[in-house]
């Protein structure tokens, strides 16, 4: 199936675009319990903030959702892929359904903005024609159509993060997972990035943002899931929801 930009989009099993965690526990090899029985559902098209102090289990959830680690017990289903029985061959397909954004942008310094995006598309086997059609659309979406030929070091922090968002979006994933996307930015740029993520969400992509910036979260009227010591201690609208 192809979307409006002619980009190939694989339909997942049953068309499910939901994230479901059921009684999920994660114990690392060193005996640390990161998650102690989490049950969480994120519906298709939702915008969710995942908040909590350091060591609360936020990063573990991200690693579980991207197939980097497997749960010790419980069930994790992401966009139709069951992570308890996922094979090595299916993991790339799972990752194509998710776009990940990091605090430190993780751009390739020796490639231009355009090349950073085309590299991510190439990696999943996109044809040169699809790449040529898709990248201008995504760059326009993040407001960087004029910066296509610039290198990451020529851009501001906010612009670099927008390139990272564009890269996460370029393969048209069902879900965007942003891990502290504003951690390296000033308040004005942080707000800009959050608004951009909000706009992407309005276009139909599920967005999960991991952050600890209370003020920023409170500016958006969105669902907030609070994690503490590997347990969900709050789930509602606003940071202080209990």
């Amino acid at each position: 199936m192809r979307d409006k930009q002619g980009f190939f989009r694989e339909e997942k099993e049953g068309g499910a675009r939901v994230i479901r965690l059921k009684d999920v526990e994660k114990e690392y090899e060193n005996g640390t319990y990161a998650l102690r029985g989490i049950t969480l559902t994120i519906e298709d098209g939702e915008f969710v903030f995942l908040v909590g102090p350091s060591g609360s289990g936020k990063s573990t959830i991200i690693k579980l959702l991207t197939g980097e680690i497997l749960p010790s017990s419980g069930r994790v289903v992401v966009n139709g892929f069951s992570l308890t029985k996922i094979s090595d061959r299916q993991i790339p397909l799972l990752r194509r359904s998710i776009g990940v954004i990091f605090q430190d942008f993780r751009l390739i310094e020796k490639k231009t903005v355009y090349e950073n995006l085309s590299f991510a598309m190439r990696a999943v086997g996109a044809t040169p024609r699809t790449i040529k059609n898709r990248i201008p659309y995504v760059l326009k979406l993040v407001g960087l159509e004029e910066k296509a030929d610039q290198y990451p070091h020529e851009l501001s922090g906010g612009e670099q993060q927008r390139v990272a968002i564009a890269r996460a979006l370029v393969n048209n994933p069902y879900t965007i997972i942003a891990d502290e996307p504003t951690g390296n930015l000033d308040p004005a740029r942080s707000l800009e990035i959050m608004r951009l993520l909000g706009r992407i969400n309005e276009l139909g992509t599920t967005v999960v943002v991991v952050t600890h910036e209370r003020d920023l979260v409170n500016r958006f009227h969105k669902r907030v899931v609070l994690l503490e010591q590997g347990l969900i201690t709050g789930d509602g609208v606003g940071y202080d929801a209990k």
Binding site: T66, P92, R95, R106, I108, A123, G125
Partner: protein, 297 residues
């Protein structure tokens, strides 16, 4: 694999090659040296084998026929020898022919004047299939009626000597091929490991966006393939030069007249194929070894 993927992998492979130019140069140099050593020893073994085959075809056991036998009996002796195991052919030599041959080899006038055909005996020159079995064949010939004990002349030392040379050359070349293959794979693997280390961020991003392991592997496989192919091309050229000069020196040396080296022009195709195959095997093997650790999900 799509055509656009192929050109992408090729482009990435070539740029990997130049990203660590010095290491690539060193890897090619060492692989060329290894291929050259492997090639030289294999060619020595091959020439020893060829020489041995020629010797086998020329090597003869002389069986002297009983002096009291008439023509018919002598002929029957020849037939009996021909039927023995490991006998390829039998040639009858009359005492006159034997004398003529002796005279050709010994030009001393005194001897020429004083030898007569009756001093020689009719004999059979027996040619064998397998030089290793020459001792047993000689014993079989001895047991033929009309020959008898002590009437067979066989030079076992020469046969044994050539078999030894052939066996040693084959064993050394096999051992060298095994050792140098491992060395070359290790060197190329380390060169490519440098590239993978240099590109670890790109590999991480590729994995993050959902590239398959083979998509990540291909550029490095091409890099190894190119390193191996370049090495084999250079090694082949050098081998040609080295071999040709060796053949020339052997032909020019008076003491080595009995050695007849196979000319390179008649063996260049199998040599080129072996070098190409070994180079590509080393290159691709090295790259797969290098990238293996990076791809654990």
């Amino acid at each position: 694999m799509h055509r656009h993927d192929f050109s992408y992998f090729m482009h990435e492979g070539v740029s990997n090659l130049f990203s660590h130019g010095f290491m690539s140069f060193a890897a090619i140099g060492i692989t060329v040296a290894c291929l050259l050593i492997m090639g030289t020893f294999s060619l020595v073994a091959y020439n020893a084998e060829m020489l041995l085959q020629t010797l086998e075809s020329e090597y003869e056991i002389l069986a002297f026929v009983d002096e009291n036998y008439n023509d018919a009996q002598t002929k029957a002796v020849g037939e009996a020898i021909r039927k023995l195991n490991n006998v390829k052919s039998v040639e009858f030599i009359t005492r006159e022919d034997a004398m003529a041959s002796f005279e050709e080899r010994n030009l001393d006038d005194y001897m020429r004047r004083n030898i007569i055909p009756s001093m020689f005996r009719d004999r059979y020159a027996v040619y064998v299939n397998d030089l290793k079995l020459v001792r047993q064949t000689a014993r079989d010939v001895e047991s033929v009626e009309g020959i008898g004990d002590g009437n067979v002349r066989v030079d076992e030392d020469i046969a044994g000597g050539f078999i030894l040379v052939r066996n040693v050359a084959s064993a050394v070349s096999l051992a060298l091929i095994a050792i140098l293959l491992v060395v070359s794979v290790f060197i190329i693997s380390n060169t490519i490991r440098l590239t993978t280390f240099d590109r670890r961020d790109e590999i991480a991003i590729m994995k993050m966006v959902g590239a398959t392991n083979w998509f990540i592997r291909w550029p490095f496989v091409y890099e190894g393939f190119l390193l191996g192919l370049l090495s084999s091309l250079i090694a082949f050229g050098l081998q040609w030069l080295v071999y040709a000069s060796m053949v020339k020196s052997i032909a020019a040396a008076d003491t080595l007249q009995f050695l007849r080296a196979v000319p390179f022009s008649s063996i260049w195709k199998p040599v080129a194929l072996s070098f190409g195959a070994a180079g590509i095997l080393i290159g691709v093997g090295g790259s797969l070894t290098a990238i293996r650790k990076f791809l654990q999900v």
